[in-house]
């Protein structure tokens, strides 16, 4: 069996987050070197603060200021930091109970090695030089020799000038994608400008592109069947609005095309005919360009239109 194709797939997007009143105060506070927590209904102080009480479901809005110093409650050594993590060199992930808080804040501790980290050790915030109103305004924690402050955390109104109301949360996922055995064969055949599907041994339908199994019968498809090259436009729309990342002159026709011998229409662009003369039943054939994996578009063959009854089951 020939090797299946593989390729990197990176999915990334700059999601935006509306913060709401509590997270807005917390992140704006970090920008001003102020760590805020929230008082729960039973008087505990949560850092980072939450909007709703985890026990009573009450809305929580009573903010307090806690110290930038605290105690490590648990930790894990991170020997190989990855892209986007707080520090480039190996560090400890720590839960820090800041002085005045009753819960742990997850962050990074800058330490020379795991031997330098213990549960119960004292740490303090190392502020980032440039702060924007984000959790990264705390660059990391660092070891600290002072004792815990005794005072009760003071109430804070959460008001700051020019409060941060939203953040951008960049997300990125790295995959290795493989289209699998059936589509690999289909893609390899396209390189020879041939379209090869697979026939279901049970219902005899020819799937293009093949998925390796028939979605109706639930059985593997193995028999290769070459279809096309010509086909019939089963339905279409005229696109008058630019799609992202596509450089095609408007308007153009986006069509469903049933290649001869296929039991499922695939999608393609119709050209070589004025857009307003494209019709259901139009007979078309692929037009390839150098280096293209797929046909660039389909053009009329000049044959008479297919009769509606011959393709209506494929619409």
């Amino acid at each position: 069996m020939p090797e299946v194709l593989k390729a990197p797939l990176v999915v990334e997007f700059p999601f935006t987050r509306s913060l709401g009143p509590v997270q807005s105060a917390f992140l704006t506070g970090l920008r001003e070197r102020t760590v805020l927590g929230v008082k729960t209904t039973d008087g505990k102080v949560m850092v980072p603060p939450v909007e709703y009480d985890p026990v009573t479901a009450d809305e929580l809005r009573d903010l307090v200021e806690v110290e930038p110093t605290g105690t490590v409650t648990t930790w894990a050594w991170n020997p190989e930091p990855r892209r986007g993590q707080p520090l480039d060199a190996p560090f400890a992930w720590v839960l820090v109970k800041l002085d005045g808080a009753d819960t742990g804040l997850l962050h990074a501790l800058d330490a020379p090695g795991p031997d330098a980290v213990t549960t119960g050790m004292r740490v303090r915030v190392r502020w980032a030089a440039e702060r924007t109103g984000a959790i990264t305004d705390i660059a990391c924690f660092e070891p600290y020799e002072g004792a815990a402050a005794e005072a009760e955390p003071a109430a804070h109104d959460g008001q700051f000038d020019d409060a941060v109301s939203g953040i951008v949360a960049e997300a990125r996922l790295d995959y290795v994608y493989s289209p699998g055995r059936a589509q690999t064969a289909y893609i390899n055949a396209l390189a020879d400008r041939r379209t090869v599907g697979e026939r279901c041994p049970s219902c005899r339908k020819v799937y293009v592109p093949p998925r390796g199994a028939c979605p109706t019968c639930g059985v593997a498809t193995t028999d290769r069947v070459e279809v096309g090259p010509a086909g019939t436009v089963t339905t279409f729309c005229i696109v008058n609005v630019k799609a992202k990342n596509l450089d095609i002159e408007l308007p153009y026709v986006y069509a469903h095309i049933a290649l001869d011998g296929a039991d499922l229409a695939l999608h393609g662009r119709i050209a070589g005919i004025p857009y307003d003369q494209v019709r259901m039943g139009l007979r078309v054939e692929p037009v390839w360009t150098e280096g293209g994996r797929y046909p660039d578009h389909y053009r009329p063959t000049g044959e008479p239109d297919a009769d509606y009854d011959t393709y209506k089951e494929l619409v």
Binding site: P215, C237, V239, E313
Partner: protein, 395 residues
């Protein structure tokens, strides 16, 4: 099997609380937690219940890529008072708001829980749904059209099959946008909308015009479902569930009918069987259905059995589906006026319940006794529907 064979064993399910946010393009003032909380709080107030009265929470939204929060239900537990209670997430693409309500209803019908909060949401402004649906999969031919390019060819196929005249899609949009003006929660309030304005809006994906497409919204919708005893304590008239069903089929398979999918027909038939409906056109008073592009109104009218093939557009054209018509459709203004994707299905279900409770305000259909709520999604892959009535089921 008799049409009531199973029903006698089930606990009747009542909707006693409904809440939704004012749907808008962007709710920049709240977090996702704040958004869902607002809808849930309104549903509790409607039912005059507190968080302590809720036994379980069933939540739904569209794919995680739409906001980029993986498994958001985990972080929403405290906002929804779910700590220490069962919390389930349902995931069926655009139909999810409907199937979420049905999963919740099953928990009550099976007497697993007495009172369940169900909620669905989407905060589309935090991302881009079209991006989430068109990831750059290697080796794959990119979709050669935008969002509407997926739907428009199916609309053309419907027109070819039924001989529907061009203007029907505009009639639907004109109706739904006018209905939305009567619904304070609807996203689009196009004062001064006219049929001419709809018909002169740009043709984006011929045959689909700009005004015949749905907006992108931030919003949430919540309902409180309860048993017979809970309904008896309800301060407001409950809506009673008479039938509910879900069906699925692959997005693409040889023989798939995109104009009238088999799964949609089967789902409706199951609901009608449970509810004892023989003639939906005559026995159902109004329908709130998932119409993301205006032409899907006549298409679904046929798929759901309110008209024979080719009869759907005639109901629309003759005014039957208007708010004061014989079979009003999308009294709320529909998906065409409000589309927080994950919540859109539940908004349909909630509107059906509001109607039979007589609480739909200016968009109330006089004498609505039995109303169908319908949702679908995932390229006509998932369907979910319920039929609610002003009276409890008789079986």
């Amino acid at each position: 099997m008799s049409s009531t064979g199973h029903a006698t064993h089930k606990e009747p399910v009542a909707v006693v609380g409904i809440g939704q946010t004012k749907h808008v393009a962007a709710r920049k003032d709240v977090s996702i937690a704040g958004l869902v909380r607002e809808a849930a709080q309104r549903a509790l107030e409607d039912a005059q219940l507190t968080w302590a009265d809720i036994d379980a929470v069933v939540i739904g939204k569209a794919p995680d890529f739409f906001e980029g929060v993986m498994m958001p239900e985990l972080y929403l537990a405290d906002a929804l008072g779910a700590v220490g209670k069962p919390m389930l997430r349902v995931h069926t693409a655009g139909s999810v708001g409907g199937s979420t309500a049905l999963v919740a209803s099953n928990l009550v019908a099976s007497r697993v829980h007495k009172t369940v909060l169900t909620l669905a949401f989407e905060k589309q402004s935090e991302s881009n749904a079209m991006w989430g649906l068109s990831l750059p999969i290697p080796f794959t031919q990119p979709l050669l059209a935008g969002a509407g390019g997926f739907f428009a060819p199916h609309v053309r196929a419907y027109m070819r099959r039924t001989g529907a005249p061009d203007h029907v899609g505009s009639l639907v949009a004109y109706k739904d946008r006018r209905n939305a003006l009567k619904n304070p929660y609807a996203h689009l309030h196009e004062h001064g909308i006219t049929l001419e304005k709809v018909q002169s809006s740009p043709m984006l994906w011929d045959p689909v015009r700009y005004s015949e497409t749905c907006p992108s919204s931030d919003g949430a919708c919540a309902m409180i479902l309860t048993d017979r005893a809970g309904a008896a304590r309800s301060p407001q008239p409950p809506a009673w569930m008479h039938g509910g069903a879900m069906r699925s089929e692959p997005t693409m398979f040889a023989g798939k009918d995109f104009v009238s999918p088999q799964a949609g027909k089967d789902c409706a038939a199951d609901v009608y069987r449970q509810a004892g409906i023989g003639d939906p056109r005559r026995e159902i008073d109004a329908v709130e259905m998932y119409v993301p592009f205006s032409w899907y109104e006549p298409m679904w009218l046929e798929n759901l059995g309110f008209a024979d093939e080719g009869g759907g557009w005639k109901l629309t054209e003759s005014g039957v589906t208007e708010l004061d018509g014989d079979l009003p459709v999308n009294m709320s203004g529909g998906v065409l006026s409000t589309n927080p994707i994950g919540a859109s299905g539940m908004i349909r279900f909630a509107e059906a319940a509001l109607q039979v409770r007589g609480q739909a305000g200016e968009h109330q259909v006089d004498g609505a006794r039995k109303v169908l709520g319908h949702a679908y999604g995932g390229g006509s892959q998932f369907f979910s529907m319920w039929l609610v009535g002003a009276q409890p089921p008789t079986s």
